[in-house]
């Protein structure tokens, strides 16, 4: 689905409490289809918590997280779906999922949301290629007749596995790891592990890709390569990307929209240029000189 200004993911009144701590407080924003939305904010602002709520690793205390596939007209069914108590619905023109009702693996399997992690989570003892095949687990499981036909050696599984290897090969080529395909993932250098994790997420065939600090620990050249890769994913594959990032060269270069969190509250939301010049953002995130603090605080009403 190409970029058409419609919404792919809608987060409404999301609140996440851990005991007395409110990590995310009444957060609402939309992720545009086929666009790159960046979520920024100081450490501890609740960015990763929002990710964990979207991907089902946390169950939000309050709020609705709705993801839509296919035609934008599917959004009409949102209120009916919410009232019905079901997790999602599929019809001819699209599908709609309420992610806050789904366990983590179903968010990935049915709602097709893929994610990466702040501290890379590859399968270090398995080869690069195997990592990408594990990502295609559900498709291959069906092809292997839930293991039964596969054990007996039915040819349909061999064809499915060849197709999966071909998908993996294409992604390895794209992220420049084709010559490392048979090496254990844990032996790759850091930057390559980051790229592999993105490739692995893409092998799950997602509609929404959530990247938690994809540029962390990368040198400037690797950051530039990452920018290119994310643009390819957005433009060629028309996938909506939501990313958390501290590297402003990445955020300002490739984001179509930036959402800024501070203490679990959204303080700004808009084009990168507008956010860059927002006084609240400058105060909270980019920082101000010591002597300007009282002035800026008065300006933003603190």
């Amino acid at each position: 689905m190409a970029r058409d200004g419609s919404t792919a993911l809608r987060i409404e009144h999301l609140t996440m409490r851990f005991g007395g701590l409110v990590a995310v407080n009444d957060l609402s924003f939309d992720v545009e289809r086929g666009a790159i939305t960046a979520m920024i904010g100081p450490n501890g602002a609740g960015k990763t918590t929002v990710f964990n709520c979207i991907t089902g690793f946390y169950k939000p205390s309050e709020g609705r997280i709705a993801l839509q596939h296919g035609d934008a007209s599917a959004w009409d069914a949102l209120d009916n779906l919410t009232a019905s108590g079901r997790r999602g619905m599929t019809r001819a023109d699209g599908a709609l999922f309420l992610l806050e009702r789904m366990p983590d693996y179903l968010v990935a399997q049915q709602a097709r949301v893929a994610r990466t992690f702040q501290n890379i989570r590859l399968f270090p003892g398995m080869t690069v290629l195997e990592n990408l095949l594990v990502a295609q687990h559900n498709r291959l499981m069906v092809a292997s007749g839930y293991t039964l036909l596969g054990v007996l050696g039915f040819p349909s599984y061999a064809a499915a596995e060849r197709a999966a290897v071909e998908t993996a090969r294409q992604w390895l080529h794209r992220v420049g790891l084709l010559d490392r395909a048979d090496d254990p993932a844990g032996d790759l250098p850091y930057g390559a592990q980051r790229r592999l994790e993105i490739a692995r997420a893409m092998c799950t065939d997602p509609v929404l890709l959530c990247l938690d600090e994809p540029a962390a620990g990368l040198n400037p050249r690797e950051s530039a390569e990452l920018n290119d890769l994310l643009r390819v994913i957005r433009d060629e594959f028309s996938i909506s990307i939501l990313l958390i990032e501290h590297d402003m060269s990445v955020v300002m270069n490739i984001s179509d929209r930036v959402v800024v969190l501070d203490y679990g509250v959204k303080i700004a939301d808009g084009q990168p240029e507008a956010v860059r010049n927002d006084a609240k953002v400058i105060a909270a995130y980019l920082g101000v000189a010591d002597d300007e603090v009282p002035k800026v605080e008065a300006e933003v009403g603190l």
């Binding site: 990935a108 989570r121 590859l122 398995m126 596969g150």
Partner: protein
């Protein structure tokens, strides 16, 4: 030259010091174990006798080993480390690698026949039964547990429970309903995997040490049920007279319709033992075949991925609950097969056969062999089970240490020693490398460093 000679002299002194220190430690450690012997005498009194010659023989052997190690092996290893590594592929190595498995299977298949024709019907039984069947049972159990521990990374200390379920399923169903071995074998597997799933559900959220404790408790629960539910299991007394498997309906007995008579042979119990040998060999090879096959299927890769990183698995849409339960169920199923074979072989089972030490032995086989390695399990089973049996055969040691010396008494001591040595030299097991399940260019063996051992 002078420096070399001096280095050697210094080496000799250091080696002697190391040897005497080791000798002292060995003396202190072995004094209560070997130096003293308590025995009950004729008037039912506990008497303490000392065995100084034996103790000093042991201490001398250990000190000598340490001396050789420090004086010869360490410098040799150091010299070898300096030599450049030759790693060009050699044709002979490829040949050995390609033909090792077919050759090994052929050798194992020919083993009972070779024994039969060399030792005849009288001497062969011990070698086929104790060294063949007994080891193969543990190889099969090791391969079964390897699915749970080696692939999925779930430490299961109660594996013997499923072995017991299989054995009792066969014994009770065969006695009550008179069903044949071939009907009950799959049934015992299904019942065991059912109990594998029953155990799997409550422990899904547990990891590492906690999982090990709960599975250990599960093993004990099953054993205690077998002891206390006397109406069903006959308690401690066990179940005897379990029907034996037949050769396609022909029983192995001395009657006119028995195996020997039908094939025109002199009756001998050895034929049944040979049949049982091929039966357990077939079952073990089935276990191996299915495991190797599963590793290359998505479920097997999901097990290994689960061992590596469970959270990443969930983020990729893998249902970790089902994945863990299938691992438990598959592992338990093979234990169930082995259990029903065990019951059919012994014709008598009791809870005594399913104690924690059995679970510990199977886990030790998997860990010593190298988690996830099929060949490693075979080597470890041969060493651990065959080693126990071979201790019974070392009668010549009596001529060295005196007529009262019984090598089997040192079984646990040798086990402990083997464990310590393995943990020092090969902490990830004998074969700690991993073969990738598929490859694009060339298959590369993965060294043990990046492989996770699993904490769940």
């Amino acid at each position: 030259m002078a420096a070399g000679a001096q280095g050697e002299r210094v080496g000799l002194g250091a080696a002697l010091r190391a040897a005497s220190l080791t000798g002292l430690i060995a003396f202190a450690a072995l004094l209560p174990l070997i130096g003293f012997l308590t025995a009950v005498n004729g008037s039912n009194e506990l008497t303490l006798t000392t065995r100084w010659p034996l103790l000093f023989a042991f201490v001398a052997i250990i000190a000598a080993c340490r001396f050789i190690h420090a004086f010869a092996i360490v410098p040799w290893l150091a010299r070898r480390a300096l030599r450049p590594v030759r790693s060009e592929p050699s044709a002979s190595r490829d040949f050995i690698r390609g033909w090792f498995i077919p050759f090994a299977i052929a050798a194992v298949a020919a083993y009972p026949l070779a024994i039969f024709f060399t030792l005849g019907t009288n001497g062969g039984q011990k070698w086929i039964d104790n060294f063949g069947v007994q080891i193969l049972i543990y190889v099969m159990l090791g391969w079964g547990l390897n699915i749970v521990v080696g692939l999925a990374g779930l430490l299961d200390l109660g594996y013997v429970a499923f072995y017991a379920v299989g054995a009792y399923s066969y014994a009770l169903l065969a006695q009550t309903f008179g069903l044949s071995f071939w009907v009950l074998l799959p049934l015992a597997g299904i019942l065991s995997s059912f109990w594998g799933i029953m155990l799997g559900f409550p422990v899904l959220r547990l990891r590492g040490d906690y999982l090990a404790i709960v599975t250990l408790a599960f093993g004990e629960i099953i054993r205690l049920i077998l002891i206390n539910w006397t109406a069903l299991t006959n308690g401690y007394a066990g179940i005897s007279g379990i029907p034996r498997p037949t050769f396609f309906g022909i029983p192995f007995n001395a009657n006119d319709d028995g195996f020997a008579a039908v094939f025109g042979l002199q009756f001998s119990p050895l034929y049944r033992v040979i049949f049982l040998y091929y039966l357990i060999l077939g079952l073990a090879l089935l276990t191996c075949f299915v495991t190797v096959r599963l590793r290359r299927l998505p479920i097997g890769r999901a097990w290994e991925a689960l061992r590596e990183d469970e959270i990443a698995c969930r983020s990729l849409g893998i249902n970790t609950t089902n994945t863990k339960l299938t691992a438990f169920a598959m592992g338990a199923m093979f234990a169930g097969f082995a259990g029903s074979f065990f019951a059919a072989r012994e014709a008598f089972i009791s809870p005594e056969s399913f104690t924690f030490i059995e679970s510990a032995t199977i886990v030790a086989i998997v860990v010593l062999g190298g988690m996830g390695s099929q060949i490693g399990v075979v080597i470890a089973a041969i060493v651990m089970i065959g080693g126990t049996e071979i201790l019974r055969e070392l009668d010549f040691l009596k001529s060295i240490f005196g007529p009262t010396f019984d090598p089997t008494q040192y079984r646990m001591l040798l086990f402990g020693l083997a464990m310590v040595l393995i943990m020092i030299w090969r902490p990830r097991g004998l074969i700690a490398t991993r073969q990738p399940s598929l490859f694009l260019g060339a298959r590369k063996t993965i060294a043990s460093d990046p492989i996770k051992q699993g904490r769940g």
